[in-house]
């Protein structure tokens, strides 16, 4: 449903990403992982229409996109700059639905349902500054859920919360998004997280970022923070991704998870 063709972007003379090619199928959860400064955020911002890439095309359902595409939601890393502090959680979640032509009653109902899914039904009337970081990021996720996008972009969504909250949010994302059948593109610098959350891990090289690895993740579901992470397959895949991220040559593995490099 999403296709990037030779997507490139330069800031002045600095090449952030260079001819990135990627296809994402409907319902897939793809994690993009790479070292810091590999243009991960540039890639996501190009897809979200927040910057105009200097080269290449973004195709959504086969159609090239210009500007911010319809049916796309983003969960930003910095929830404090994404949730509006002058609105309650419920109002924050319901706000994007105004564009969907729903009346206030139905907007509130949809927002409430989304908050229930992320376990925040009791905090609907709270303001973002009354909540912990993890709760605020849940509100961001609820906002994306209520919006019912076809494609959900997540930019280091769990980068600003503590480790335990991070695991909770990872599981929440997996559970809720599987339920909605959304296509997700999650950007992270965390190798562990990319393997745990993704159906597929795409590795970007250092700037100028380009795809150096595209690995399917075949782990038995439902995933579990403790058990999944001790599976041999998980450990092996994590090492593989780790090597790619550090720019080492990948092992041609013999254990059934094909490493395709370009």
């Amino acid at each position: 449903m999403l296709e990037l063709v030779d997507l490139s972007h330069t800031y002045g003379s600095y090449r952030a990403i260079d001819r990135v090619n990627l296809k994402v199928a409907q319902g897939e959860v793809v994690c993009i992982v790479g070292p810091s400064g590999c243009g991960k955020s540039t890639l996501l911002r190009s897809i979200a229409g927040l910057i105009k890439p200097t080269g290449g095309t973004v195709l959504l359902d086969g159609k090239p996109v210009a500007g911010s595409p319809e049916n796309l939601a983003v969960v930003f890393q910095d929830y404090s700059r994404s949730l509006y502090p002058w609105m309650s959680a419920l109002a924050n979640v319901g706000l994007p639905l105004r564009r969907r032509g729903l009346d206030k009653k139905r907007r509130d109902a949809a927002a409430m349902a989304a908050l229930e899914q992320v376990g925040l039904a009791g905090a609907a009337a709270k303001y973002p500054w009354e909540m912990s970081g993890g709760m605020q990021q849940r509100v961001s996720i609820a906002r994306a859920l209520a919006y019912q996008p076809k494609l959900l972009l997540m930019d280091e969504p769990f980068g600003s919360v503590d480790a335990q909250t991070r695991e909770e949010l990872e599981d929440l994302t997996l559970r809720v998004c599987a339920h909605h059948g959304m296509t997700i593109l999650l950007i992270t610098h965390d190798v562990d997280e990319s393997v745990y959350v993704g159906d597929r891990v795409v590795v970007l090289s250092k700037a100028p970022g380009t795809v150096v690895g595209d690995l399917p993740v075949q782990l038995p579901g439902p995933r579990d923070q403790i058990h999944t992470r001790e599976l041999e397959a998980f450990v092996r895949l994590r090492a593989e991704v780790g090597r790619l991220v550090r720019g080492m040559t990948p092992h041609r593995n013999t254990h059934g998870f094909g490493v395709e490099t370009r």
């Binding site: 502090p85 303001y127 500054w129």
Partner: protein, 263 residues
């Protein structure tokens, strides 16, 4: 502990000043500096000895305060609306501020009282001129602060609005304006105190009603205690407006105060 001390200080500073003032003026016996007790008595006789149904205000008080406060609030409101509207335009329309800046800086530098003769020519003598003076004088803090405020909206807030495809109206009404509101309120507060000053100034020239006119009248009748009573009245009004404004601000901007406290 420190709060308690500062509370006591605040409480004591007023009576101590009053007593010193009273003693000093009684000793010097200058006709220009009547003791505060006499000022208070005259204040009471002139304005506060009315019936309870009028909140103790006398007819004279209603006749004097009414037109003044009406002008002040009307002028401030017009300046607020115009200032916010123009400020948003200047802050959001690219290039507009740069083009208009020299003109605005020029206009802003003009002392509003000096424009009274021009406003006399432009508008009718009386309330329209006084309103023009107030509006022209107090629009600037609102305008400048609004421009600043709408420019300083966090990029993250705007990107979120873009991604979720908010309408232009929603971006303005639900993202830009609320985000700029703390600055806008700071401008409005400054304008309110300026409006009080300009209200009096505008009534000192070419008016036949209001506090400024009444002040001038007292001065011309050599009623210095009366002049002082007017000065006290203006101080009290300033205090009152500021307090009311802070209450309103506290309600509208409670998110802002709390958000900052929690960071």
């Amino acid at each position: 502990m420190r709060r308690a001390t500062s509370g006591v200080l605040r409480f004591w500073i007023v009576p101590v000043t009053l007593v010193l003032w009273e003693l000093l003026t009684r000793v010097t016996e200058s006709p220009y500096f009547p003791p505060p007790s006499r000022i208070a008595t005259q204040f009471y006789d002139m304005w506060l000895s009315g019936p309870a149904s009028q909140l103790l205000l006398t007819e004279s008080a209603l006749d004097t305060f009414g037109p003044s406060l009406g002008r002040l609030l009307a002028g401030w409101t017009i300046a607020g609306v115009l200032g916010i509207a123009l400020g948003v335009a200047l802050g959001r329309i690219r290039g507009l501020a740069e083009y208009t800046d020299p003109v605005l800086q020029f206009l802003r530098a003009l002392p509003p009282p000096l424009l009274v003769p021009i406003f006399f020519v432009l508008f009718k003598i009386g309330t329209p001129t006084q309103l023009a003076v107030i509006v022209f004088g107090v629009i600037w803090p609102v305008l400048v602060n609004t421009t600043d405020g709408v420019r300083a909206v966090d990029k993250g807030f705007l990107e979120t609005a873009r991604v979720f495809q908010f309408s232009r109206y929603d971006i303005l009404r639900r993202v830009i304006l609320p985000s700029a509101m703390p600055k806008i309120f700071a401008g409005l507060r400054l304008s309110l105190s300026l409006a009080l000053i300009l209200m009096v100034v505008s009534e000192l020239v070419g008016s036949n009603s209001g506090i400024g006119y009444s002040l001038l009248y007292a001065q011309q009748s050599y009623d210095y205690t009366g002049v002082w009573a007017h000065i006290v009245l203006l101080g009290v009004l300033g205090l009152l407006f500021n307090a009311l404004f802070l209450v309103a601000e506290g309600r509208v901007l409670s998110w802002h105060a709390n958000a900052r406290r929690n960071v």
